[in-house]
């Protein structure tokens, strides 16, 4: 452990010398330096935290946060923005991994519990958080003085965001602990499926809320058809991409890492291009979620080819640096000013969400007759929150420019807390059900 501390010290001292010592060096942000520094320091801090039983990814997130613009100032927000491209590639990689981890045979075996957990947690968390926010709405400054209808609509937005979770955090913890077993399968399957369901649920809720908040027009549910089409196309593209990856590995003998990087790049560019093109040329708000495409591609390689095991093995070989970079950058992108402003209401929502997830998963487990050991600990795996929730919040701000930023402040504060608590809880849950293999 001493070696890690010395390495960390060396990296920190070098960065201090380069950034703060006033040398007349290249003044331009250097994302490669930031990334290298983040990898070394986050790894060391992650290892130190693992020594005391905490998950490495909490260390990665905290490193990103504390080395960044709000504390030690070793890099600026713009350097992190410049690295967003790599962050997207990492997200595509995580999507491939998450899809690849889902085996049809396992899903079939636990299909009933999956359905119960999804419905149970969604119902309890959504209803619970909505009612909570509605009941304390007079205490929330930007909701004071609004009509009950608007208050309820805003509360529903809080409710729907609270349902979202993070497959990327789940997959990182599974990879770190080398976990295997029914509990792991259940948490991962529910997290991935929720990623699809939350997008649809969010679209429905936000459109209903729009009527109450902006009081214009009637209900138009044609978007649901568009949404279903978006998801269907994402799955279809993912399937084709998965087949193409198999072809490239098998027939063209192209290097694996090149295939994955190229495909990740292609998916991200394709999704953005298509979204922009349809919006500009045909004024259609049609966006295909790149993460879904990657998940479907990974799922295809795993379940519809002979390369599933090999695919996962190769992905696993290169996964650690990608997870470290991804979560450290997530930490680096956290806005502490927002946390300062919205921490109190954020904390209330986090606490309520924890209780509601516990209740929802307990009853879902009982009804679906999941083994006691699993259903008593299942809730611990459903706390993580990250990327999708932040993406949905951006959409809230876009649709409701007046109150959207205030909603965003509180919920980002809550998400930041969940990002730290979630992995700790999931690792604890995995240990309790004895599915870790480290």
């Amino acid at each position: 452990m001493l070696n890690k501390i010395i390495s960390l010290f060396l990296a920190l001292a070098t960065m201090f010398f380069i950034v703060h010592a006033g040398l007349k060096l290249n003044q331009k942000d250097c994302p490669a330096l930031v990334l290298g520094f983040i990898l070394i320091s986050a790894y060391c801090i992650g290892q130190l935290l693992e020594k005391i039983g905490l998950p490495g990814i909490v260390g990665y997130i905290l490193t990103g946060l504390f080395m960044g613009p709000y504390f030690l100032k070793f890099y600026t927000s713009s350097a992190i923005n410049e690295l967003s491209f790599i962050n997207n590639l990492a997200l595509a990689f995580i999507g491939f991994c998450a899809g690849g981890e889902l085996r049809l045979s396992n899903i079939r075996r636990i299909l009933k519990p999956i359905i119960y957990y999804i419905s149970g947690i969604t119902l309890v968390v959504f209803t619970g958080v909505t009612l909570l926010v509605f009941s304390i709405s007079s205490l929330i400054p930007f909701l004071r003085g609004l009509s009950p209808g608007v208050k309820l609509a805003v509360s529903a937005i809080f409710g729907v965001i609270a349902v979202a979770r993070s497959p990327s955090s789940a997959i990182a913890i599974i990879s770190e602990t080398k976990a295997k077993g029914p509990y792991t399968d259940l948490v991962l399957s529910v997290s991935v499926a929720m990623d699809v369901i939350i997008i649809m649920l969010f679209a429905v809720i936000i459109s209903v809320c729009q009527i109450f908040i902006q009081t214009k027009g009637g209900m138009d549910f044609s978007f649901i058809a568009v949404l279903i089409l978006e998801i269907a196309i994402a799955f279809l593209l993912g399937y084709l991409l998965g087949k193409f990856i198999v072809f490239l590995i098998e027939k063209a003998k192209v290097e694996f890492a090149v295939v994955i990087i190229a495909m990740g790049f292609f998916v991200i560019e394709f999704s953005h291009f298509l979204g922009e093109y349809l919006h500009k040329v045909h004024n259609i708000g049609f966006e295909i979620e790149p993460l879904l495409i990657c998940m479907a591609a990974g799922f295809t390689v795993q379940n519809f080819s002979d390369y599933g095991k090999k695919f996962l093995m190769r992905m696993d070989r290169i996964s650690l640096p990608i997870y470290i970079a991804f979560f450290a950058m997530t930490g680096a992108a956290m806005n502490i000013n927002i946390l300062r402003t919205g921490w109190l209401f954020g904390l209330i929502i986090v606490a309520a969400r924890l209780i509601l997830i516990n209740i929802g998963s307990y009853f879902s487990g009982k009804i679906s007759k999941t083994p006691t050991k699993i259903y008593k600990n299942a809730w611990l795996g459903f706390i993580t929150q990250a990327g999708v929730s932040l993406g949905l919040l951006t959409e809230v701000v876009r649709r409701f420019p007046d109150i959207g930023p205030s909603i965003q402040t509180i919920l980002i504060a809550a998400i930041i807390m969940n990002q730290i608590i979630g992995p700790i809880a999931f690792k604890y849950g995995l240990k309790k059900v004895d599915e870790t293999n480290v």
Partner: protein
Amino acid sequence: MKLLLSVVAILVIALIGSRLTYLNRRLPLGFKNILFTGAEYIFIGVVLGRMGLNLIDTRSLNNLEPFLIFGLCWIGFLFGLQFEFRQLKNLPRFYFSISAIQAFITFLIVSLAVYLSFRALFSLPKNTLLIMAITLGSAASCTAQSALAIVSNNYQFANRKLLALLRYISSVDGIFALGFFTIAIWIMPGVNNTDFSLARSLRWFILSISLGILSALILIILSKTKFSQQEFLVFLIGTVLFCGGLASKANSSPLVIGFICGTITANFCRHRLRALATIIHSEKSIYIILLIIIGASWSFKLDYILLITGIYFLLRTIGKVIGTFTATRIFRTEFYTPPALGLGLLSEGGLSIAIIINFKLLYPPISDYLVTIIILSMFVNELISPKFILSQLKGSKKKIKR
């Protein structure tokens, strides 16, 4: 439409690429060599880049800069890892001297002639012309090993010692190329400094060396305890990125600093062989991506360039021949060395491409010509070098493959 075309292009290229893999056995050696070096990926880059479908546009290329720095440092690091002094001592010392002399003479001839012709063609500041010429000279002085590998895979040789000498030269002369390239940056560290200042250059030199040593130190300390292969990958990627980033911050070369870091690691890290295995495993992928990027960022203008490339190609060939001839006459070997042995050292992939990418990274406004010269010359050299190697290794017989 642009996207659709790109998709079609990628599919077609992948299909053609896979077909070529199958047809590989029937292709002439020169074409085999081109495929072996992955030079076709430059064309994939061209198709996807600003001269083609612009799918990898300027914004994407800017975003890829960290990867470029990483890739260059990775190649330098790999090169440095192969310089373990204990191993080098076991080889005959005059081999090293022969490599040094042939690299130096090639460098001298190419740099001098390029400087003079550039001075006649372009109205650029003296120092700018000088660093352009030195960079081309350094790229010319190194030799790729691919053609020798292709030839020895397909032929049996009577004179095995001569082949060993060629292999040794091609594996070692890169160190001199990196040394020459360091001189180019030493003259002008940073694109904004057009005037030479000894104090600034010395400070830059000491800082650059220190950064390479420091990065290696971090890797050595990290790898002192027990670790998994995944963790080792984090150490390597982290160190290489950190090292490359520090180089970039100090207006230095990721390639050269990576080389320093690699050499220190090779001689002081007990896991050097594991590092070498890991780095070599990913080398091809990284090199391919670098080739795609250089293809995508390539801006080709048809003016003097074909003439300059022709001159460069000719000078490099002359340099290699004179350099090797002089070296083998000063340090006589116990076996016969043909007078035009330098023709066996024409292959020019790998390091010269890395040098030119590094130049582009450091001095973007003046790099387009140099990139074009190296890319075109590389294609010609890879195509002809197997034939020239065979012409020097007389008495070789084709291997019969089942």
